[in-house]
């Protein structure tokens, strides 16, 4: 048994084309066109589909790694312009391992002299990589230095333009090159909390005094 499609557009047109050869005159095609145009189930306007892919395969591009480091001297970078994407914090640096740990407030007094005040800034290189910059701040009562002063100034410039920061050993500070011609960075819609979770996951958050890094520092 034949099952006709339910779409009324596809019901056969009213007139039969007939099965006889239509050889009377040259108008056959024209007549058929006229006949079809009355109910054209294949009118182009009804057929074009939107979109290059109709499939939702649930593809996402999750952020897997967020390096915690100052900007590479060979890359231009921009700092996230939203003030909610920065956090005053204290970090502990293991210089030999080139590792930076985020230390929670409760642990600060338990390891005096080991942590440094920083502002954690989210920045992006031109190739789209997201990183966290632990920008050093001045410890209360201590003298500031020109490295840190120039780095902070560079970070302020990088809010609304692209900046490249290189060490100037002679001046003990950073030199910067800036560009306001490069189109602004596109920021992924990921909250700061999530970025920090990725950056300081894998044991890089010190939230207890028996953290392996502290035990190592204590010589245990």
């Amino acid at each position: 048994m034949r099952l006709f499609l339910k779409n009324p557009n596809f019901a056969p047109a009213g007139k039969s084309g007939g099965s006889k050869p239509t050889s009377e005159n040259g108008d056959t095609m024209t007549e058929k066109k006229k006949e079809a145009s009355e109910v054209d189930p294949f009118a182009l306007d009804n057929l074009t589909v939107d979109g290059t892919t109709m499939e939702d395969l649930g593809i996402e591009r999750p952020l897997l790694v967020v390096p915690v480091t100052k900007p590479n001297p060979q890359d231009f970078f921009q700092v996230h312009p939203d003030p909610t994407y920065r956090l005053a914090a204290r970090v502990l640096e293991l210089k030999a391992e080139r590792e930076t740990y985020l230390v929670t407030k409760a642990v600060w007094p338990l390891i005096p002299g080991e942590t440094k005040p920083v502002t954690l800034l989210v920045y992006q290189s031109r190739h789209g990589g997201i990183s966290v910059w632990p920008l050093k701040q001045t410890e209360e009562g201590l003298r500031d230095n020109t490295w840190n002063i120039s780095a902070r100034k560079a970070s302020e410039l990088a809010v609304d333009r692209w900046v490249r920061m290189q060490a100037n050993m002679h001046n003990a500070s950073y030199d910067v090159a800036t560009s306001n011609k490069i189109p602004p960075a596109n920021w992924p819609d990921i909250p700061l909390k999530e970025i920090l979770r990725i950056a300081f996951g894998d044991g890089k958050l010190i939230d207890r005094v028996d953290h392996p890094v502290i035990r190592q520092l204590m010589g245990e």
Binding site: R2, F4, L5, A13, S16, T22, G51, T53, I59, R126
Partner: protein, 594 residues
């Protein structure tokens, strides 16, 4: 008798499965030998020999709006309709086109032909060797004995018999929804347009072609002598790699090598190297011309028309892939000088301007990329958008910057790597990388869209055009992310061209051929301007269907008898060298052709 089909059914009162056998000498119109047609629901079969068909002015079965005609590679069947002067069926379902949709991107061990499709769907068929034997008998052109006639008709009927189970196997896919069935019918309409173009052909200056063929060895000798005077790399008619290596050493030109250590002498390498070292350009043109110019392969009939298979739906983007040696637009650029309208006629070449760029802007929804297209000079506009040049810059004031940006914009459109872009633009890789990065930053909406498409394609998902042409990377098939990135633009362009060809044929325009993103039409001299205007309108309307209501600019070149077609940038020099060699008048860019 009613024959049930599982799943959604074809909403046609009659469905005719058809196959012609025909003879088609190179460059000539098809000569139908026989037709077998069988109605799907009733099983009624018609068998007609060539003299039976010649007596009819229309097909001996219903071709109206309530019926469908089913064939495998329907342009061949419609070519027979053209030759017989029969009006084409209104609804054609081409199982070849539908098989290509289903299997595009997949490995097909038995190929894309009727037997390959049958194998794919598990349908029993005759052996390929048997098919080949019968084809040889038919292509012999007759006359055939009574027995041979019966054999040929039986063979033709066996293909029709194969169409029935194939249709039943494929219908649940192409008729799954009214929209998909509509797409199939439109692909069928395109096969009608292809048949009309293959039948009409492109007008060729046959006397000049004949003279060139007769004197080809002399022409080659003269051309080599002319160009090689500056290079000294030929020995008679033979290119000597050792001499060329010596030449490169003397001129301190670096040249890519094969793994074996030998110089890479393929045309793509020559093309790229000639861009970076313009001194080599005449040598590249010569080699290209000699390599491509297989004059005897150019399929031109005794009536002076270039006719060849356009090979629709052959590429994974759905574009046509006619033979480069048989199709006048596939040969070296200067050979197009052979295109010449007949007396009282004109030929027009209408192409979409920067079509891939426009499609990218329209489909991705990147407003800035679309504005760049609308500016009329997307290359310069990219330079402006990326702040490489001031807003007041013009093509004349910042030619160098524009050229570099052009290489990047085109490279993105064609899915090239930045290494290739650097090579083509003659700039350092680091500069190309930087410009590509700027392109990504400037047109980030486009890039997000494009990368999502790549993700879907590489994950085994399906990319689709507005009219349902699909691409899915099959199991164990090599995946190229740049090719997937580029697919929507190329496939969209192919779709626009198909809709254009269908509409032009149905509007009665004298459509000669599709050429990548262009069409060639012909008309009497007093009607050509009107037809160009109508064709432009149709081309732009086709864009709107595919490009979410947006459209492309169309450029038109018209060649009126007695002028000839000429690519005045890339072809005229070589054409004139050939004309000089055979003592015919050269093409003058100032006063037109002779």
């Amino acid at each position: 008798m009613r024959i049930p089909i599982q799943g959604p059914e074809l909403p046609f009162r009659e469905v005719w499965l058809i196959d012609f056998e025909f003879v088609a000498p190179a460059g000539e119109r098809q000569r139908p030998v026989c037709l077998v047609a069988e109605e799907l629901w009733t099983g009624r079969q018609l068998r007609l020999w060539e003299d039976d068909m010649a007596a009819l002015t229309a097909a001996p079965f219903d071709t109206g709006p309530n019926s469908a005609t089913v064939a495998y590679f329907a342009s061949a069947e419609m070519g027979c309709f053209e030759a017989l002067g029969w009006p084409h069926p209104m609804n054609i379902i081409d199982l070849f086109a539908e098989f290509r949709v289903v299997a595009n991107g997949r490995k097909l061990p038995r190929g894309r032909g009727l037997l390959g499709a049958a194998a794919y769907y598990g349908v029993q068929s005759i052996e390929a060797e048997e098919k080949e034997t019968m084809r040889e008998l038919i292509m012999g052109g007759g006359p055939w004995t009574e027995d041979e006639r019966e054999q040929i008709l039986d063979y033709c009927a066996s293909d029709v018999t194969l169409l029935r189970p194939l249709l039943i196997a494929m219908a649940p896919e192409f008729a799954a929804t009214p929209t998909r069935l509509g797409h199939a019918v439109w692909r069928g309409r395109y096969m009608s347009a292809v048949a009309a173009m293959e039948d009409r052909g492109i007008p060729i200056d046959l006397p000049t072609l004949t003279m060139m063929r007769d004197r080809w060895d002399d022409i080659k000798g003269d051309m080599i002598a002319n160009v090689d005077a500056d290079f000294g790399v030929y020995d008679g008619l033979t290119f000597k790699a050792a001499r060329f290596e010596e030449y490169l050493k003397q001129h301190k030109i670096w040249w890519p090598r094969l793994e074996t250590g030998a110089l890479a002498l393929d045309d793509d390498t020559f093309k790229d190297q000639a861009r970076a070292n313009p001194i080599l350009q005449p040598l590249r043109e010569l080699r290209h011309a000699l390599g491509e110019m297989r004059l005897n392969s150019l399929a031109v009939g005794p009536d002076g028309r270039n006719r060849t298979l356009l090979s629709p739906f052959r590429s994974k983007t759905g574009r046509n892939q006619p033979s480069n040696s048989k199709f006048v637009f596939g040969a070296a650029t200067w050979v197009r000088g052979l295109i010449k309208p007949a007396e009282g006629m004109a030929v027009a070449y209408l192409d979409f301007s920067s079509q891939e760029h426009a499609i990218a802007g329209a489909l991705s929804g990147d407003k800035q990329l679309w504005s760049a297209y609308q500016s009329g000079d997307p290359y310069l506009q990219f330079a402006k958008d990326a702040k490489l040049v001031p807003q007041s810059a013009t093509k004349a004031s910042h030619e160098m910057e524009r050229d570099k940006c052009k290489a990047i914009v085109l490279g993105v459109s064609y899915g090239m790597s930045y290494h290739s872009m650097a090579h083509r633009a003659g700039i350092h890789v680091a500069e190309a990388r930087e410009l590509l990065q700027l392109h990504r930053e400037t047109y980030h909406v486009f890039w997000s869209w494009a990368e999502r498409n790549v993700d879907v394609a590489l994950a085994g998902g399906t990319l689709t055009t507005a009219m349902g042409w699909q691409y899915r990377i099959g199991h164990a098939m090599e995946a190229n992310p740049r090719s997937a990135l580029n697919w929507p633009m190329q496939a969209g362009g192919a779709e626009i061209l198909r809709l254009t060809c269908v509409a032009l044929r149905e509007a009665g325009i004298g459509l000669c051929a599709p050429v990548h993103d262009a069409v060639v039409i012909e008309a009497p001299l007093d009607r050509i301007d009107e037809d160009i205007a109508r064709t432009t309108e149709i081309m732009q309307q086709s864009c709107r269907h595919v490009m979410r209501g947006k459209t492309c600019r169309v450029d038109a070149d018209v060649i009126r008898f007695p002028d000839r077609f000429m690519d005045t940038k890339r072809g005229v020099k070589m054409w004139n060298a050939v004309m000089q060699s055979i003592g015919l008048p050269e093409y003058s860019t100032e006063k037109g052709a002779k």
